[in-house]
Amino acid sequence: MIEQFRMYFAYPFVQYAMIVGVLIALCSSLLGVTLVLKRFSFIGDGLSHVAFGAMAIAAVVGVTDDMLLVLPITMICAVLLLWTGQNTKIKGDAAVAMISVGALAIGYLLMNLFPTSSNISGDVCSTLFGSTSILTLKFSEVVLCVILSIVVVTVFVFCYHRIFAVTFDENFARAVGTKVNRFNLLIAILIAVIIVLAMNLVGSLLVSALIIFPALSAMRVLKSFLSVTICSAVLSVCCATVGILLSIIYGTPVGSTIVAMDITAFIIFTIIGKIGGRS
């Protein structure tokens, strides 16, 4: 088996997939805890649909680099949903549902009206489930992914205490003078970046699994914010690594294999939590 891996890892595209997969898993798990606790789990899902719509637009308009269009559009929607979502007329979950389904429909409509290739359903499927895109990464995309990951992790580490404060008790944070809106905005932007990155790995339908599963698993067992954050990061990286390796060996779709690993981990952690809680 090791021989087989050595053979596969001689190919640059496998190396790229591994690097990108691990980094994305790391980034996406960091903010998962905050999103789950703020009851924003579905924002990841909604935003990934937005990113899907944006990708369709990018394909129709014929932008050479998808990212240039997809990233800003997703960021704007993230800001709209997270930052202003709390005091608008349409409340949180309804706004998310509206934007996500709307973007999905428009995206699919555009792809059909202005087909860029003969195999539309294949295109749609790979955007939704990321079936092959991780294995077709270009060197420039890998570099971009590395840079963005470093930015996400750095920003997260430096804002860690404030993110905790804002997540735990927004009113208290505001009362003692923390610029809560600024940090909600920051969280929104980070989430958008992570989702656009993660779309390459698991496709837009499965992105939110990557964000929430590690956090939910860690929360079953651990009791402090720091330990939950670290554990979910480690867990996410492990699941992604195992998932990518398995998908290489058995030829399964990368995204769904990783998510299946995350689900397995969640079940294991739930059982551990139950046993640990009883004793």
Partner: protein
């Protein structure tokens, strides 16, 4: 000059005005209870004092060098906190967040401060415990320790005893009284009128008619007598 002065405040939201021309002044070291019916504007007033929302009219002035961000706030518990994985230490330390300034991490000094506040409230032994697994009374102590990290001068408490059993309620009231006697100004929203009269030295009753004055004056005022009677009957 008082630490907190409210001048001609009007409270409410959008088109509804709940309270008009509210005037009062809180002296350093005072213990003020804000009482009134549900929906009279107690929480709105508290949010206004904390600068979480703007008054419809009038102004709030802080005196004696008190800054708005130096008020320790004990909010009502939120839904989020009920399944939040956080250790007691993390929660208390987050009370120091205004001291972070431009820095990303808490200093040793901040950690000492948090440890000292935990000691004062007798929760040091809980430091590593998970906040959501504590009893209601312990959780309130943790949040009180957090509020004390943010202030040395003024505490604002929003119905601190709601949901606590009688024994724990009394313990918490005594603790707050002790803090007040150490020189911290206390402003508390309360439904519990009898305890308010027992512990507070000033009462602010908001509703159709506003009363502000010492506790003795309140007990002899028509509003106070009416409200007390109803409170006792309950």
């Amino acid at each position: 000059m008082g630490e907190l002065i409210c001048r001609n405040i009007a409270l409410g939201y959008e088109s509804t005005i709940l309270v008009k021309d509210l005037n009062f002044e809180v002296q350093k070291g005072a213990y003020l209870c804000i009482v009134g019916e549900n929906g009279a504007g107690k929480s709105t007033l508290m949010r206004t004092i904390l600068h979480l929302q703007k008054p419809l009219a009038g102004e709030i002035v802080y005196g004696e060098g008190l800054h708005a961000t130096e008020i320790g706030y004990l909010p009502q518990q939120t839904l989020v906190q009920r399944d939040f994985p956080a250790s007691v230490q993390e929660v208390v330390l987050s009370g120091c967040q205004s001291r972070l300034g431009r820095h990303a991490f808490y200093t040793k000094e901040d950690k000492m401060r948090a440890a000292e506040r935990m000691e004062r409230l007798g929760i040091t032994h809980l430091a590593k415990r998970c906040y959501r697994e504590l009893s209601g009374g312990q959780q309130q102590r943790v949040l009180l320790a957090r509020a004390l990290c943010a202030t040395e001068r003024m505490l604002l408490l929003d119905e601190p005893v709601s949901g606590l059993d009688p024994k724990v309620t009394i313990e918490l009231y005594e603790l707050i009284r002790d803090l007040n006697q150490e020189g911290i100004t206390v402003i508390m929203i309360s439904h519990d009128i009898l305890s308010a009269i027992q512990y507070a030295d000033h009462i602010l009753h908001i509703g159709a008619e506003v009363f502000y004055g010492t506790t003795e004056a309140y007990q002899n005022s028509p509003q106070g007598m009416g409200y007390l009677e109803r409170g006792q009957r309950k």
